[in-house]
Amino acid sequence: MEHYLAFLHQYGPRFVDGTIVTIQQTVFASLVAIILAFCFGLMRLVPLRTAQITATIYIEFFRGTSLLVQLYWIFYVLPLFGITLDKFVAGFLSVGMCLGAYGAELVRGSIQSVPRGQYEAALALNMSPAKRMMRIIFPQALLIMLPAWGNLLIELLKGTALVSLISVTDLMFQAKQTNAVTFLSVQNFGTALIIYYLMARLVVAPGMRTFESFWARRMGRG
């Protein structure tokens, strides 16, 4: 135990640095994922063939291949076509694009599971399509999809560990670096595992639950 405290005293700051980068990656990747999920999820529902096909290709492509393959492709192959991304940007973009494809299916599924009568009632009240979506359908769909988004954001947090493989200095990367110096694998990787666990259990999951109950109350279902 004393050894471990000494270890933390010496290498703790590195883990803090890594955690900050992991949090940044998670926040940016979440934004990318949420935006893409809503764009492509809605595109699959509009009565326009080209939009549906584009969205289906995006979703199936990113869900059908691995995040790691996508990450390497974006980081190592895109520069060959003249698009060079900074590793930090390439990292959160890949994670966000991959998880966004899963999110798009959530968005589509939840909008489709809002009862048919709600559409019909909104139509009967002569609401414009935009108003119908924003005021009636979307708030109810959000309530349906939020629990699944909680899981997806934990998957996303876990996904950001892969950006260490293109040497973004996140938590995983720092753990690997200190392991190469100290060879104390249990302490290094164990500490990193615990930090990831605490972030998922104490930040992401309760945060999403709070948002869920807030939204349920707003919808008068609390």
Binding site: E60, F61, V69, W73, Y76, A161, A200
Partner: protein, 223 residues
């Protein structure tokens, strides 16, 4: 601008296909381990001891909310610290098995919870043994409920096998990395890896959906 070279693609294709076999083997054996560990996790949570249930629940939560790639590193590097040296294949498969076992235990649990309480009570009333209750009554009803989740995680394991490349298992991704560093051409190997993944995961996802529908009809849930 970098050009796609077909002769180079054809040249590396045999090695990539060879590696695809390794990937499929890793996914298959990882899944087999996960199926069994998932069962251990779920049955461990159904004993009469609330402490055991709580401990296993927390272990499952821990494994589910930490990154697989970190778990692979952990298992691979921790052994040697205590004098146990496992080959990359072994520690990689154990990590995948543990990770997906904890996911599958949730899928099994949902399946078991989906069987109406009356079925358990009827089994007790008929004085059926525990094994008979599970194998003849509960599992045949729980399986169709669990099958979609089980199928998704089979495809999920397949897509997560590239993470094994970080500890030097020569699967598809590691082979593409090796080809890239030998030839300084990354375009074809990485793109081909992407297409091989698509070519396997899309049809298998489709096949699994067909299988689910078939099982549902067979088990009398849907006509």
């Amino acid at each position: 601008m970098f050009e796609w070279k077909w002769e180079f693609t054809l040249e590396i294709l045999p090695r990539l296909l060879q590696a695809t076999l390794n990937t499929l083997m890793a996914a298959g054996s990882g899944y087999a381990i996960a199926l069994i560990l998932g069962l251990v996790f779920v049955l461990g949570q159904r004993t009469s001891s609330p402490i055991l249930t709580g401990v296993i629940r927390e272990i499952v939560e821990f494994i589910r909310s930490t990154p697989l790639v970190l778990q692979i590193f952990f298992l691979f590097y921790v052994g040697p610290q205590f004098g146990i040296v496992l080959p990359p294949w072994a520690s990689g498969l154990i990590a995948i098995g543990l990770h997906y076992g904890s996911y599958l235990s949730e899928v099994y649990r949902a399946g078991l919870d989906g069987v109406p309480r009356g079925q358990w009570e009827a089994c007790r009333a008929l004085n059926l043994s525990a094994s008979r209750t599970y194998f003849r009554i509960i599992i045949p009803q729980a399986l169709p409920l669990s099958l979609p989740g089980m199928g998704n995680y089979l495809v999920g394991i397949f897509k997560d096998t590239p993470m094994l490349s970080v500890i030097g298992v020569m699967e598809l991704m590691a082979t593409a990395n090796a080809l890239g560093s030998e030839t300084y051409r990354y375009l074809e190997p990485y793109t081909m890896v992407g297409f091989i993944f698509l070519a396997i995961s899309l049809p298998s996802a489709f096949g699994l959906r067909r299988l689910e529908a078939w099982v549902k009809i067979k088990s009398g849930i849907e006509k």
